[in-house]
Symmetry: C2
Subunit: 482 residues, 2 copies
């Protein structure tokens, strides 16, 4: 039997109506009561536009308060939010919208023209909805933990993105696991500058209503503003990716953070060791973590107290998550399997991918790693040659399959190259049939792929490294650089 | 589908093997790894004595480390613990043991002779089990949240105690609700002096393994020792009942508690206003709470920040609990209904009582109360004339039905009388057929009832106050005192 909980935002509005739920860059504060009132009103207006319980509603927006209200409004209706990455091309967005059976699309004013090109039956900006009349509907007073709430796409090895379905329970348990690991205090204020269309960003706003915690909302990451906020605005926690840590370190200079700043939660791929050492010198409380869309944000975390001894480790699985290494080799390295109530139950309309991903209740992450004698996880290789650039996931196979469509390209291999700023950048190795310029290839890619996926460097080679069964060996690609 | 979580003690032993799980009065510390090892070993020895998955195992013990190990051992086997109140008479214990279908009884050495009188097929002291050989059995690696773990008896209006069944999920969600309300810190150390056979005491040891928190175990409450521990042993939280607050206040005198002491969780019945005012003067962080065996410990709590403004309130329902007042009258007073995943699913082998207690998923507590305009609960009258004396529940009907069996007593009414030390004490009003002395009645009661249930005062009256339908009106009994 599924457990039900009172609607999390209503609950906080009851418990702490006057407490700040969201604080904007300009200092404006929205209390839990106001957030509830606005979200419920928005829900009733969405009903006017035709959104029903079970509707799939796309959201195409960068971080802003309207997006938060829209997401909570969907939970009051019982509709499912399909969160779209604003960095994607029209073609990429189109695929996700069609695959996810999106019937309504919500967007911010500045993205309205992009949104309208996506051919969704009903498309509105947040402000258009706001001008509608409310329709009297029954709002959800309780949330069933087994009900689906969001779909977020993640690319896979096949090149076709898959829609990861998250239940209310997945988000709830993720927030609880994080609290049991990081602790919880009435003083907490979480700075959110990660995009909300990724699960790591979204999770902060859900923690806000589950914990009754204030979130400082930044539309985007700006190191000067974030630094200023940590120093002066009572921030206790912040979620970041590697490139942000680098910039914040530069910003920090010889200063040090206030003592109440207690957690810099670092996700989105491995961090270079020199960076971690530098952060340690500055006594920055970095919590390295490991997670993916499928785990509803971090599922393994390393605390600063262990960081000294276990540099480079991603830590231990959060309560109540489990971790094991599947078929470890002589060096104990094998595929990382995870399990827990924060792990997705599967991919939307993709039974085959779901079946493949789950082995007896465990999620096969595709990442390789080992666990040391003290139980700490070390990620050796990201899943299926995944490239992580500035916190964004790039699947080589996706980039390859797009560029393989270019007439002059006979063969292509894409791989991640270390980069001091972005962690990694995608680079391509091509065998061409007739003369073509680097810029032409990049232009072709740019039209079809999100900017961050476009190879930053292109190398013309005579042949690609292949194994006995003629399969591309991506790990050897970088050796081809002259 | 029921969620499963890794076994909570194994999990903490993996996460923080060297951290102190339990600290004894003499300063001995048992780490999470040691606690796991001991509990698993005890489980294998219990298997030798015949305990199996699903066995009902009575535990008759005052607080000690062996009792904690035994309880965790049961969870490794998947057996159900029936926690017995050591203050009960043989007759009372006999009823519960029979009703709960207890097949094995575990006890401390000093209670062994009492235990052996209870005719349980297999009875052993903890130390007898410890001397057995281990039997190789499969220990539970995961806990299914829907599985039953403990049965704790609570008396009812009918006079027959009912066995409240708690699932792993009930205990888990109770711990999570408490953490979301009280916050969570790696610095926390909870002093436990409440009896573990009550759910309020038990819950502390389960929080310990769910949070990874150290518990300071006291065999019983002694104000001098508890005071000393709060002042000198890094205690941050303590669970108490009213009478303990009073004694601690006297002990505190003109001193004040260290700043890291952040929570005195007050349960087990209403606290007199003067006491709360006195505690406030001393800046003691008292969290008043409301709960019962059926809610797996507190379900409504008032924080110190609200205590000033809402003196006398029990607070607001914890995340993710819900509260409503059933059929409120003109003054908004009605029966308190609660709901949430920490609420029991029912009474053991007592469908009728379960059916009566639950109304469309809500537990009808039988207590009367109202919710003010800000959402704070005020308990007006405890359920069914419940008397709470020193944190122990006494049901007048139970005492009445026992004493009604005495030949000389024609009619009897029992009610709680305010008492500066115990909160309330039970007093009896009797109509007798022939001359009998107070002492004879008390002696009769003492043989059949736990000491705390024996009426402390007995009044001989000519008639009892009754309503039109000839039903006893207990609220008018105290008016008969000359």
């Amino acid at each position: 039997m599924s457990e039900s909980i009172p609607h999390w935002l209503t609950k906080q509005a009851d418990l702490a109506p006057k407490q700040s739920a969201v604080e904007l860059e300009d200092g404006t504060k929205i209390t839990f009561l106001e957030l509830k009132t606005k979200s419920q009103s928005f829900a009733k207006k969405l009903a006017t536009s035709g959104v029903r319980k079970g509707s799939h509603v796309g959201i195409l927006s960068n971080n802003n308060i309207h997006m938060i209200i829209a997401i909570h409004a969907l939970s009051y209706i019982g509709a499912i939010g399909v969160l779209l990455n604003t960095r994607l091309t029209t073609e990429e967005l189109h695929y996700q919208i069609k695959d996810a059976e999106v019937s309504h699309l919500l967007t911010s004013v500045e993205l309205l023209s992009t949104a309208e090109r996506l051919d969704v039956p009903v498309t509105h900006s947040f402000s258009e909805i706001d001008h509608m009349k409310e329709r009297a509907i029954n709002l959800q007073e309780e949330l069933q933990l087994e009900d689906y709430f969001t779909i977020i796409y993640t690319s896979g090895t096949t090149g076709f993105p898959k829609g990861v379905m998250h239940t209310y329970g997945n988000h709830w348990w993720s927030a609880i696991g994080s609290a049991l690991n990081l602790g919880l205090s009435k003083e907490d204020k979480w700075l959110a500058a990660l995009p909300m269309f990724h699960v790591g960003g979204l999770s902060i706003y859900l923690k806000s209503v589950i914990y009754g915690m204030s979130v400082l909302l930044f539309e985007k990451f700006d190191e000067k503003q974030v630094h200023h906020a940590i120093m002066n605005r009572g921030v206790t926690m912040v979620s970041v990716v590697t490139v942000m840590v680098q910039r914040l370190l530069e910003e920090l200079g010889k200063e040090s953070y206030p003592s109440k700043f207690r957690c810099m939660l670092l996700g989105g791929g491995p961090a270079p060791r020199p960076l971690l050492e530098k952060a340690k010198e500055k006594e920055i409380p970095i919590f390295q973590s490991y997670g993916m869309t499928e785990t509803s944000s971090q599922i393994v975390t390393l605390s600063p107290t262990d960081a000294l001894e276990k540099l480079g480790s991603a830590g231990k699985p959060l309560v109540p998550a489990q971790l094991r290494i599947h078929q470890p080799d002589a060096e104990k390295v094998g595929e990382i399997y995870v399990k827990g109530p924060m792990v997705t139950k599967g991919y939307f309309k993709n039974k085959e991918a779901t079946k493949k991903a789950f082995q007896e209740g465990w999620l096969a992450t595709g990442d390789l790693g080992y666990v040391d004698e003290d139980g700490f996880l070390y990620v050796v290789d990201r899943r299926k040659d995944l490239i992580i650039s500035g916190g964004e996931n790039i699947y080589p196979s996706e980039v390859e399959s797009v560029l393989a469509g270019m007439e002059s390209i006979k063969e292509i291999g894409v791989v991640g190259k270390e980069d001091p700023t972005w962690g990694q950048i995608p680079v391509a190795f091509v065998v061409v049939s007739n003369s073509v310029k680097q810029e032409e290839i990049k232009l072709y890619a740019k039209k079809r792929l999100a900017k961050y996926k476009v190879p930053k460097e292109i190398y013309f080679v005579e042949a690609l490294p292949r194994n006995a069964s003629n399969k591309l060996v991506r790990t050897k690609l970088l050796d081809l650089i002259p």
